[in-house]
Structure formats: structure tokens, C-alpha cells
């Protein structure tokens, strides 16, 4: 079985250009077998070893939605002071992006598409 960390790191590396966007503070990826890494702006990528890390908790939302017959591939949490974008693909995992401001619709769609492409193309 391939090292699950390898896929996570590949995807995180592909996502790293998002951090050039001044609004985006953090990126993360939680694989299907729940290996989770994240990277903050101007910092190196790090594994999140705690079982109850926030990105893993947020990835779990997809399975709960599925139980409620709302099987989904993208979630956008818009809070008062920022947004969290989650993009999921079967067999790969969940990409997560934390933004400090509310991202404009067109840019949001572009980010979602880029995440989908990254998940589709990464082997």
C-alpha cells in the first residue's frame, strides 16, 4: 500500500500557490484514510497528529451530510470574519482552505475548480 503521507504531501504542494493569495491564511488536506496535513502562510507544511484536529472534524461533515441524503463534494462555511472552503473527491480526500475575508463569488468558484482539478489530477 503506498504511503498515505505521500499523496497528502503531493496534494498540499499542488495547493500551496493558494497561499500567495493575501486572503488565504491556511491550506489543509485530509486523505480518505484521515491522514491530515496543513500549511499556514509563510510556514512549512506540518502533519496534524491529533485525532480531533479541526480539519479532520470538518472532513467528517461530508459523511454526516451523506447520512442525511445530502451527498456533497463542496462546502463553503461563511462566518462573520472569514470563510472555509472544503472540496472533496471520493478515494482521495478533502482539501480545505481558510480565508480571512469573504472571497468574491468568481474567485471562490475559481478556487473550488482548482481544488477539484488538483484532486482529479494527483495520483
Amino acid at each position: 500500500m503506498p504511503d498515505p503521507n505521500l499523496l497528502v504531501l503531493k496534494i498540499l504542494e499542488a495547493m500551496s500557490p493558494f497561499l500567495k493569495n493575501p486572503q488565504i491564511l491556511e491550506i489543509a488536506f485530509c486523505s480518505e484514510n484521515r491522514v491530515t496535513w496543513h500549511q499556514k502562510k509563510n510556514e512549512a507544511a506540518k502533519p496534524l497528529t491529533k485525532l480531533d484536529n479541526i480539519w479532520r472534524k470538518l472532513s467528517d461533515t461530508f459523511s454526516v451530510l451523506k447520512l442525511h441524503k445530502l451527498e456533497s463534494k463542496q462546502l463553503v462555511w461563511t462566518h462573520d470574519h472569514g470563510q472555509i472552503i472544503l472540496v472533496r473527491k471520493d478515494g482521495k480526500g478533502v482539501c480545505g482552505i481558510l480565508s480571512q475575508n469573504i472571497i468574491a463569488d468568481t474567485e471562490l468558484q475559481q478556487i473550488q475548480k482548482s481544488c477539484t482539478d488538483i484532486l482529479d489530477l494527483t495520483k
Binding site: 451530510l65 462555511w77 461563511t78 462573520d80 472555509i84
Partner: protein
């Protein structure tokens, strides 16, 4: 020819009894790999065991009811309900099922706990085809042998006794705020039928069940009061939870799984719940339900539990010890405000109290009469539900089960609280859910929460959000 195929020749010559094996593991990839490998090992043998898999304990229990497997093979480290809790439940509910542990770890502590929980076999997760074959052969032998059903483990503790430090250490599961509670639980004549009652079964110590006429007694040293209340809520019970701790004592009244009243020495209502949920150590007793003289809590129980968790987190963040005075003062200010103000005004006051800021200016509310020609008619959507802060349904239409949707809203609310706790993003404004064939939106406005779903066609997010912002949806509340 693969390793499995080579071994498969040997397996085909063995006598296999048709039966069902249930594997429980939160690692989905491992489960599918396992199923595939065992399928190869069994080949097309007519009596090959059926392999059933489950990613969590709740689903596993439903599968046990439906499929009656002869062996349950479980992992230990799983979220929510771990393997040992599951094994204890199996010992009580299904003593005839053979229990096997398949885990990535191996230690003398795990061996001891396996023995204590009536585990027939304990394997380390296989890394090679040969290891997988050995496990398979072992399971076949176990399945064939009627003597291999181990008795339910003896629980050495007697009613009211305290386990030795060694026993406590062996049983300890790390919890953020673990406390030890001793107490009695009332007789539970109901049979297990849904995942919601799983936790209720898990935490109930099975001690002296046969000859104790008043129910079960025991020690719960791995959960706190808040978790105990959640279990009672999940099981939809009506009961009175009497709690006494170092600093206070009181009662929480639950009617059909909803908290309707609470009282301590000097607090009544929600503030009393917060005080009791914050107790760090003490005892509880679950008494039969008698309606209280007055009903003081009208907020949903989910909201109360989330609020209590938030208050506790705040305290932890401040690195202060539990300050009862501050908590009760804050909650009583909120309660007073709630009694005298309208719902919308209450929320603003509540936020002001939280931020230690007083809002004295008058508050204008948007009245439904302000609906303009640009209003959005929710009836154009497939499913809509609007909930008030107190959990009452303000509006709904579409083919949905309101109870399920209310659960979902509470779950999303809880997740948004976790997001805020981690990233300090403030409260949830809205959540967009996008799937292959559906779009959904949960939006919060003032006290109300809207959940709208369209299947097979996109949700007009922009118009809907715009209308919600301007209170222009054609309902009584938005």
C-alpha cells in the same frame, strides 16, 4: 498467481461453515482491502463466510441486528465509541457472538483489556498475505468451535465500590475533562433498537443486573456530566438527573430527551444547567420522572449543551479555575434579559453581555410588512425548513422529515462553533452545500435558521442570500 490465489488452493480444501463475519474499523481503506483479500482467499467456495464491514459502531450494531454475524472483529482505536466500549456492549447484548480484536497496536495493556472483555482472539493488523491467511484460518477455527464462545467477563466491582488505582489506570481513556462519577441508573427495560441508544448502553455499568431490584449501580470514570446528559438526550428518556458535586448540587429535569427545568441551591433554569454541567467531580442519581412545579427552560437542549461547552471553553482559554460567580452572574443576566425582552432583542443583549458591552439604544425590528416586490418566494424551492431559536418550526415545505433536518441543523451549528473555537471566525452566516445532484444552503439570520435544498437543479443562492439579508423571504420570520 498472487499469494492469495496460491493460499486459496489450501483454503478450498478446508471445511468452511457458512456464516457471517462482521469487521468494524474506521479505516475505510483497510476494510475494503480486507474484504477484497478475504474474498480472494475464500474463492467461490459455496460455504464461504460472508464478510460484512462497518466503519463505525452505530452502523455495526444495526448490522448485527440485521445479519446476526457469528464473529465480530473490531479495531480498538475508533472515534466516538471505541473498540472496548463496543466489546462491553456486545458482551451484554449479544453474549453468543464471538469477539475478535484486530488492531494496529499490541501491548500488554491491550492484551489485558481484551481478556477482560471476553475477546476470543487478538490479532495485529496483517501486513502480508501470509499474515492475512493465518488470521483467516484462525477465524475459521474459531467459527467452527462451539466452545470458543467465551463467557461475558466478570466485572469485579461491586455496587458503590471504587476500582483500585491499577484498575482505573487500565481502563482509562483520555478525555479532555474526565471526571469520576458514581451513581445509580434506573432499570432500563427497553431493548436496543437504534444507534441513539448505543451510548446509553455503553456507559451503563452492567453490575448486579440480576439481583438488584432498583437497577444498576457502578462507577463512570470516563465521562463528564455534559456527556451523561447528551446520552440521556439521545435516548429520549424522561427522568430527573440529581447531581451533587464539591461546589453545588441540583437537579436537571429531562422530558422525552429535552431539558425542561433545572435547579440548584440558588439558580433556576438555564443558568442552573450551566452550573451543574460545569461540576468537576461528584455523584449523580437518575430518578423517575415527576413533572416539575414550573417549566423554566424553553431553549433547545442542543443549544444549551453547545452554550455550556462554549462557556467551559471560554474558561479554559482564560486559564482560570471555574468561577461560579462569574458564570452564574453572566447567565442570570442573560436569563433576566430573556424574560423581559423580545427574542431579537434578547440575542443582541446576550451578545452584548458576552462582550461585556451594554446596548441601550432601541432596537428596530424588520416587520413582515416591509416585504417588497423583490421578495423571494421559498415555495419555489424543493425543501425548506425555518427554525426559531427555541427549536420551533416556523415554516416548512417539501418532502422532508423535519426531525432529521432539525438534527442536521444542530450538527452544522455545532461544527460552526468548532470552526469559531479554532479560528475565531465569529458566528456562522451561511453554509453552502454543493453535490452532484443537489445544492443546499443553511443560513442564519437573527434568531432563525433556514435550510433550503434543491435537488436536480441549482439553488438560486445569490437571490436567496440577498433576500435573507433584507428580510425579504415570503415567510413570517424571514
Amino acid at each position: 498467481m498472487s499469494a492469495f490465489e496460491r493460499y486459496g488452493i489450501r483454503i478450498a480444501k478446508m471445511e468452511i461453515v457458512a456464516s457471517k463475519w462482521l469487521f468494524v474499523d474506521d479505516d475505510v481503506r483497510f476494510l475494503s482491502h480486507l474484504k477484497e483479500s478475504l474474498g480472494l482467499l475464500c474463492g467461490k467456495h459455496p460455504n464461504a463466510p460472508s464478510i460484512i464491514i462497518s466503519e463505525n459502531v452505530a452502523d455495526a450494531l444495526l448490522l448485527i441486528q440485521r445479519e446476526s454475524p457469528s464473529i465480530v472483529i473490531t479495531d480498538i482505536q475508533m472515534p466516538q465509541v471505541d473498540g472496548f466500549q463496543f466489546l462491553r456492549l456486545l458482551s451484554t447484548k449479544y453474549p453468543k457472538i464471538k469477539k475478535v480484536v484486530l488492531t494496529g497496536q499490541s501491548s500488554t495493556q491491550i492484551d489485558g483489556l481484551c481478556q477482560k472483555n471476553g475477546v476470543a482472539r487478538h490479532f495485529t493488523k496483517p501486513a502480508t498475505a501470509k499474515a492475512m491467511l493465518d488470521i483467516f484460518i484462525s477465524l475459521l477455527a474459531l467459527d467452527k468451535d462451539p466452545k470458543q464462545t467465551l463467557p461475558t467477563p466478570e466485572i469485579k466491582q461491586t455496587a458503590g465500590s471504587v476500582p483500585t488505582p491499577q484498575e482505573q489506570e487500565a481502563n482509562r481513556i483520555p478525555f479532555k475533562k474526565a471526571i469520576r462519577i458514581t451513581g445509580k441508573l434506573a432499570p432500563r427495560g427497553t431493548s436496543f433498537s437504534s444507534p441513539s441508544s448505543v451510548l446509553d448502553d455503553v456507559v451503563t455499568p452492567k453490575i448486579q443486573a440480576a439481583d438488584h431490584p432498583k437497577g444498576f449501580s457502578g462507577v463512570l470514570d470516563q465521562i463528564n456530566i455534559s456527556e451523561l446528559v447528551q446520552m440521556l438526550v439521545l435516548s429520549n428518556k424522561s427522568s430527573i438527573l440529581e447531581v451533587s458535586g464539591d461546589h453545588d448540587q441540583g437537579k436537571i429535569y429531562l422530558e422525552h430527551g429535552q431539558i425542561i427545568h433545572a435547579e440548584t441551591k440558588d439558580q433556576v433554569g438555564e443558568s442552573a444547567v450551566y452550573v451543574l454541567l460545569n461540576l468537576q467531580d461528584g455523584q449523580f442519581e437518575l430518578a423517575h420522572f415527576n413533572p416539575p412545579n414550573q417549566k423554566t427552560i424553553f431553549t433547545t437542549t442542543q443549544h444549551i449543551l453547545i452554550e455550556a461547552a462554549r462557556l467551559m471553553d471560554e474558561q479554559e482559554r482564560d486559564k482560570n479555575h471555574f468561577n461560579k460567580e462569574a458564570l452564574t452572574s453572566k447567565t442570570s443576566r442573560i436569563t433576566t434579559a430573556k424574560q423581559t425582552l423580545t427574542k431579537r432583542q434578547y440575542v443582541i443583549i446576550e451578545e452584548a453581555v458576552t462582550q461585556e458591552v451594554y446596548v441601550e439604544e432601541s432596537i428596530e425590528t424588520n416587520h413582515p410588512s416591509t416585504v417588497s416586490n423583490n421578495a423571494f418566494d421559498l415555495q419555489h424551492l424543493d425543501e425548506v425548513i425555518i427554525l426559531a431559536k427555541d427549536g420551533k418550526i416556523q415554516y416548512k415545505h417539501g418532502s422532508l422529515d423535519p426531525a432529521q433536518r432539525i438534527d442536521l441543523i444542530a450538527f452544522i451549528d455545532f461544527k460552526s462553533q468548532q470552526i469559531h473555537d479554532q479560528f475565531q471566525l465569529g458566528s456562522l452566516y451561511h453554509l453552502q452545500i454543493i453535490g452532484e445532484n443537489l445544492e443546499a444552503l443553511m443560513a442564519c439570520k437573527d434568531d432563525d435558521t433556514l435550510l433550503a435544498i434543491n435537488t436536480q437543479r441549482p439553488l438560486p443562492m445569490k437571490q436567496l442570500l440577498g433576500a435573507i439579508n433584507k428580510n425579504l423571504c415570503l415567510t413570517q420570520t424571514f
